[in-house]
Symmetry: C2
Subunit: 247 residues, 2 copies
């Protein structure tokens, strides 16, 4: 039976079974939330790149480019990684290039896997319903912060585990990382903002006056799009059949 596993940091990715897994890349604050927002607002595709140099090359060619390092938008680019940036009408039917401190690096790490999709609270129901129909191993890859575990990505991974827990498709035996993530989600579920109040990321972001981004990123089901990586570009996944397995 297929299994659901959680990788709490990109540094642990090599220890996880990924070869035949669907890898869900998670960077709640804020790359994957921003990517889902871009699709919600009609972007044609999102091209993730893992360095500022590559982002600059695209910028020089006239692309719209988002670039963030250490929580701040880099000067000379169009966007940072705030989800609000990607509500900009200019992105409609256009490609957007993005590079971020953590999220695009996790995508880069997983890119040779047979299937990579993007997860965020903003697309969680669509994602989980689709996953439940796949009958495949799932690896929830938390981007963390510079290789370290963070609460928001772990909590989201736990939310996905929780939605698929006891689903007849999946093996009942979960890794400790998956169980730990689910415990964190169940603790956080009632009020995720309060749960994150003391997190190190929240403290980082508070310095940057970005409370609104957190609030935005914790909203569920703003979009039904599941971004999927095809030939290095994120495009809308065509969901083949309506799911009957809402858990």
């Amino acid at each position: 039976m297929p299994q659901i596993d959680v990788c709490l940091s990109p540094e642990l990715y090599k220890l996880c079974d990924q070869e035949n897994s669907i890898v869900v890349v998670i960077d709640i604050l804020r790359a994957t939330s921003a990517i889902c927002t871009a699709f919600e607002f009609g972007v044609d595709k999102v091209i993730p790149v893992d360095s500022v140099e590559k982002a600059q090359e695209y910028k020089d060619k006239g692309f719209l480019v988002g670039a963030e390092r250490n929580g701040k938008m880099l000067e000379g680019f169009d966007f940072g990684n705030s989800p609000y940036s990607y509500t900009d009408p200019r992105i409609k039917n256009q490609p957007v290039v993005i590079t971020t401190t953590n999220g695009t690096r996790a995508i880069e790490l997983a890119k040779n896997n047979h299937m990579v999709v993007i997860g965020a609270f903003t697309n969680i129901s669509a994602l989980c319903e689709w996953l439940a129909d796949q009958n495949k191993d799932v690896l929830l890859l938390c981007s963390g912060w510079k290789g370290r575990t963070n609460l928001e990505d772990s909590m989201f991974a736990g939310a996905v585990v929780d939605r698929l827990f006891e689903h007849p498709t999946y093996d009942e035996s979960y890794s400790d990382a998956a169980l730990a993530a689910r415990h964190l989600f169940l603790l956080a579920e009632e009020d995720p903002q309060v749960f994150l109040r003391n997190s190190s990321h929240r403290q980082r972001l508070a310095d940057l006056n970005l409370k609104e981004d957190i609030k935005y990123s914790l909203q569920v089901d703003k979009t039904e799009v599941i971004p999927v990586l095809r030939d290095g570009e994120l495009v809308r996944l065509e969901v083949e059949k309506p799911s009957a397995a809402k858990s």
Copy 2:
């Protein structure tokens, strides 16, 4: 102010600030619980080695040697890593050599740090009272299982964070890993055995019929000894003054 941090896996050790930290090595099931038991039962010193070959060299020289891989005692050695093994009267005033799948590897990883001590539920109060008096950064290093995070080590790290939480000595800003570990401990606190019931380690150990070891390893305060690494050997830490700071 000094900080308390948690490293959820040896794979993340390089990302943690350790240079001036007291590193507490944690392998609840079962290496660090076993080492504490050995001291409780009068061992002179414990020599941790990171390979079966090195353990065999000591065995050939006539030392008492514990050797475990994948949860099982290796043939030809005196002990595995069950805490019960180390209640053997033969160890009194003798050195014992030990190699295990995870715990001794974590010790090896941390050995060049300026101070490495051994933590387990069985010495938790002595450990925490001593830590509270040191005014030093503390890094709680979870051995995990072959590099992966496990619930029992994370939960113990969280128990230490919880005991020192809001202690006036320590900085109030905790890493997300430390907060996550503390959350797990608070969930587990009421009944750690039930909490661990579904853990992957528990399933592994159940196969090996080692329930009793789990029960033993979850007991608190069986000993006041804090094993400390000096020149590659674990000896009793001489605690210089009685602690006034019981939290």
